[in-house]
């Protein structure tokens, strides 16, 4: 843009061309003509590339295990990335007044420096046995609740449910911020979408990554565009977008309890809006890391992930 600099650079390019014309095209062997800077640069590049090639071949032949480690490290490094989409989303939400600067800064920090701790990321399973007993118990509990067909639960009913639904489990091998204990929420709630549970809370084979990981919510499969309603009365605290969650929102229900709705095709509620139990807040989609249209639903209480299976019913 600044013509002064462009002219300066154009001038230097022209003078290089003139030098090349002056020195001619083919260099004959045996001449004492010194290398031009351009030729010297090319020669250095050739030597460096050839040296790197020879070195890599030698290392692969002499230290195959070490080379395999390096390959693995490079492969991992190519796959690990900060969540750029989440960074843009945080900045956009701050600018459009959907979140304050402090919240945006925290989200940017998390997306850049600790994307693996971002809410919807899944934790790799520990080595050894995964607690099938606990998972089986949860599944059997879910079957019992299916038989009741209950989609709305009032606060007064929850004490009985809790007493009946005692689940034996071990906390060993669970991620630190997860509890399998059923918590009394203390408010009325309902199932956020009419769908079929396609993936439970707990360890599972990740549908995209393939490895065994902890799934921090339940997936409710439904057609794209199916309405998602608020689990309970509260305030929409976050409307965002990330590479893993896609379009998502979080509703704060007070008393340290919040719910997250991810992979939505559209968020219809605005950040900061007060919503009632059963009020539409979003529509089902498959944005982010998803293999089909569904709602990924999480319940958080005081920084811990609760098992939503106690609180939702599917079709």
């Amino acid at each position: 843009m600044t013509s002064r600099r462009i002219r300066r650079k154009s001038g230097s390019v022209v003078s290089q061309v003139r030098r090349h014309r002056h020195t001619g095209g083919v260099r004959t062997s045996g001449t004492d003509e010194p290398l031009t800077p351009r030729e010297r640069q090319r020669l250095i590049q050739l030597v460096v590339c050839a040296g790197a090639f020879v070195l890599l071949v030698a290392v692969k032949l002499l230290l195959p295990e070490r080379m395999a480690q390096v390959n693995q490290w490079l492969s991992d490094a190519l796959q690990k990335n900060m969540d750029v989409q989440s960074v843009f989303s945080a900045v956009g939400r701050a600018f459009s007044g959907q979140s304050d600067l402090d919240g945006a800064a925290q989200e940017v920090y998390r997306a850049v420096f600790a994307p693996e701790t971002e809410m919807a990321q899944e934790t790799a399973a520990p080595a050894g046995e995964i607690y099938e007993t606990a998972m089986d118990a949860l599944r059997s509990y879910h079957k019992e609740s299916e038989e009741t067909g209950q989609t709305e639960v009032s606060a007064s009913e929850q004490t009985e449910v809790s007493t009946l639904a005692y689940v034996r489990y071990s906390d060993e091998n669970l991620p630190e911020d997860v509890t399998l204990e059923q918590s009394i929420l203390g408010f009325d709630y309902c199932t956020p979408v009419s769908g079929v549970i396609s993936s439970d809370f707990g360890y599972r084979e990740h549908p995209v990554e393939g490895e065994e990981r902890f799934h921090y919510g339940v997936d409710l499969a439904a057609d794209t565009g199916t309405q998602i309603v608020s689990f309970a009365a509260g305030t929409v605290s976050v409307v965002g977008e990330s590479s893993s969650y896609g379009k998502y929102c979080i509703v704060d229900h007070g008393s340290g309890i919040s719910t997250l709705y991810a992979h939505c095709s559209r968020i219809t509620a605005s950040s900061g809006a007060a919503v009632e139990r059963g009020e539409k807040i979003a529509e089902v989609g498959e944005t982010g890391m998803a293999t089909g249209p569904h709602l990924h639903f999480e319940i958080h209480k005081d920084g811990e992930y609760l098992n939503p299976i106690y609180y939702v019913a599917d079709l």
């Binding site: 600044t2 990335n81 956009g92 850049v112």
Partner: protein, 199 residues
């Protein structure tokens, strides 16, 4: 270099390589959003340049961004400054417009804002570096302008490079930032090499 429109637009293969890498790492939709925002940015520059009567000779697109070659030598400092700032201003205007719907597209807004902020870094030849050069030149002469642009570029390049390396280190990846870090170092080094232009 791949040339189109009678050589008025040049696109380097490295641009496609880096774009492909970014798309694979961060999603093709996000890449499209970034490219669209970059197009609006360049359109902002072009509109003001044409308005001020400058001739746009060529648009060069490389892995490190786009550069407009113009014959804006006859433009006044104020007109050239306006043209330089028009790019980031176009992104800020687009971001402001996108906040109007009931459910604003926050990612798109963020892309425009980040692109504007990045281009306003005082790192020549980014818009911020050019604007600093023009402002100081306007106030204290071209030598002072070049000196200010050069040293701000060196300091900013070091900062950008350190930030990119820090992110790559902490995430154990994000290697697509490597060309940006190398580009920043290249710009800073180029400014240092041009020291003899200032007597």
């Amino acid at each position: 270099m791949w040339q189109i429109f009678d050589g008025r637009v040049e696109i380097s293969p490295a641009f496609f390589l880096l774009s492909g890498w970014f798309g694979l790492a961060n999603g093709w939709a996000l890449l499209g959003t970034v490219v669209l925002a970059a197009g609006i940015h360049e359109a902002g520059h072009c509109l003001v340049l044409l308005w001020k009567g400058a001739d746009i000779r060529r648009l060069r697109i490389s892995a490190l961004g786009a550069v407009l070659e113009t014959s804006s030598g006859e433009l006044s400092y104020s007109a050239e400054l306006l043209a330089v700032l028009a790019g980031p201003a176009a992104n800020l205007a687009a971001a402001a417009v996108l906040t109007l719907p009931e459910h604003p597209p926050v990612v798109e807004i963020g892309v425009h804002l980040m692109l504007a902020a990045f281009n306003l870094l005082p790192l020549y030849p980014l818009d911020g570096g050019r604007a600093l050069d023009l402002l100081v030149s306007w106030a204290a002469g071209p030598e002072a302008g070049e000196r200010a642009a050069r040293w701000s570029a060196v300091v900013t390049a070091a900062g950008v490079c350190a930030a990119a390396v820090s992110v790559m280190w902490s995430t154990g990846g994000s290697l697509w930032l490597l060309p940006a870090a190398a580009g920043a170092v290249g710009y800073g080094a180029a400014e240092l090499r041009q020291g003899h232009f200032v007597k």
